[in-house]
Symmetry: C2
């Protein structure tokens, strides 16, 4: 048998006898033969791998995101190369370089990335999708969360509940998501008194804001934190100060991270289908890989309000919300 025949047999080419195919398959199995990926990639110009460039891997958010990406990648037989923890633009550039030439497409989420950066460090030939980005360049495909709409909806929800004095805890100043959420709050809060407190998405900053609010002579009726972690930090500060939620003050967050359901009282929040974000971005990437000339699309992912007890609606029971069951729940088998 020549290498050519073996290659054809193993790749399921039509023009090879069933008999030889069987013979080759048998020998391959006996020899535990595995094709050399690099050699294959070299000639086919495909790696069957996509890269995900993320700012970090810590926390619920990225866990869900990667899960969504992995799910979609696996469905298409693609391998997933992850890279993270780049704290500044230089590290992001290094990571980007290292991925180039090893992947067929790239998923990018990074606060350090903008259009000039991409033109500088990203080959135009490599399909890429940008997530949660302020990059508006039509050249790049993007997938964003509807931060603006979600924040607007939550603000309206608070207004509907009758709160007329609302404090907003902001995210980091240079963060795109944070800016959009703030804008949404501002635009919808018109009828009410609106105050702003500075935060940076960390639980710690939410805690500080909570203490500040508890110490106010005239406290707001409701607090809307730009993400759940801050809301939770705030919740603990308020509780420690003896305030009851939602009786004394209402509280809402953004993201619907799993913890939100478990705190006391359960936290009203804006649900972002994070796994869908990952899945959707990978699908967009695959589409781009298959038809490189198609115009790059800019999609936005809708959010949804999840009312729980922390905003004190009478219709919402304080009973424990049961976890959703999941497909593929092999995690039930791991601690």
């Amino acid at each position: 048998m020549s290498v050519a025949t073996v290659s054809r047999a193993l790749n399921g080419s039509a023009s090879v006898t069933a008999q030889t195919r069987r013979r080759i398959a048998g020998v391959a199995a006996r020899l535990r033969y595995v094709p050399h990926g690099a050699a294959r990639s070299l000639v086919t110009r495909r790696t069957q791998t996509v890269g995900a460039l993320l700012p970090d891997l810590f926390g619920e958010f990225f866990s869900e995101l990667i899960r969504g990406i992995d799910l979609a990648a696996r469905a298409r037989g693609l391998q997933l190369l992850v890279s993270s923890s780049h704290g500044d633009a230089a590290e992001a550039a290094t990571a980007l370089r290292a991925m180039q030439g090893r992947v067929d497409g790239l998923l990018i989420m990074s606060p350090h990335v903008d259009a000039p950066f991409l033109r500088e460090h990203l080959s135009a030939a490599l399909p890429a999708v940008l997530m949660n980005t302020s990059v508006g360049d039509k050249r790049y495909a993007t997938l964003n969360i509807d931060n603006y709409g979600g924040a607007q909806a939550m603000t309206r929800h608070l207004l509907d509940c009758g709160y007329r004095d609302i404090a907003f805890i902001t995210g980091p100043v240079d963060n795109f998501d944070a800016a959009e959420r703030l804008k949404g709050f501002r635009d919808a809060a018109k009828p009410a008194r609106a105050r702003l407190l500075r935060g940076d998405f960390s639980e710690e900053s939410g805690y500080r804001a909570g203490r500040e609010i508890a110490a106010m002579r005239q406290r707001p009726q409701a607090i809307f934190a730009a993400n759940d972690m801050m809301a939770i930090g705030c919740l603990f500060a308020l509780t420690e100060s003896g305030l009851r939620i939602p009786k004394d003050i209402a509280l809402a967050g953004f993201d619907d991270i799993p913890i939100a359901r478990y705190v006391n009282p359960p936290l009203t929040t804006v649900r972002v289908r994070i796994a869908d974000l990952g899945q959707g971005s990978l699908e967009q990437l695959v589409a781009q890989m298959e038809t490189p000339d198609a115009p790059s699309s800019g999609r936005t992912l809708a959010c949804e309000i999840v009312p729980r007890a922390s905003t004190g609606q009478p219709s919402i029971s304080r009973k424990h919300e049961r976890p959703k069951s999941r497909k593929h729940r092999s995690s039930g088998e791991m601690p």
Copy 2:
């Protein structure tokens, strides 16, 4: 300039003039040249990539695990290829195959993997480290959590608190971690009355166990759940039944997932340094990659008791535990 000189210049070989090196670097930058990874791998027989084969990516546990792996990999300039969501042995085999020939080493965590499986599907030439596994084969390097010791310590802790009637909620029957934890409990619970309830590591199963306990005529004084998610489900069931924790009944878990701190009351648990598990396993893998002939080591990672309010010690304040600060906290910049 010949390709050889370019190669040498770019790889920092000694025998190339500073002048030509600069010239080549300049041209490379202008042309946005990125070396073709596959071609390089083909000749060097190195991919600079390690693979992680996991049963799933959902939840705190894997999030932390991957973070630890990534941290260590990045420190060594290695890329990380992840593969997950294989629900059965066949899928695990496929995933294993797909990784082979694309990575320099493999990190494996899977309930479906045993020694015969590995001999069948894993090339002996490929360095690998098994995590949380019952595989005792000396041929393979392993890294386990000290499930037995941790469960023993927690049981003793409950005894020290004066509880003499303790219920244990078990994990899945075929799970290695679960079995070890049960064994630890059994061996340490001798002086007390010990009862067992069946669980499967899911929050749902913990909830069921909690209802069952609440309905008992003679309730145990303390409950020890084999993982935190079950403890939390149990907590909600007990609370719904009007029982106060720890006054009416004490509760403890295992893992110290982030949520454990946030529930009410905060959950006493066994801390497993999950990120360390990932980091340690990668370091073991690297060691094996560098000296393939060294005898494969079997390491065990210690656990530590984290006493919180749910086991009602007088010395433990119910004040909110502040989150640990982290290096590399760029996550503060993402929701």
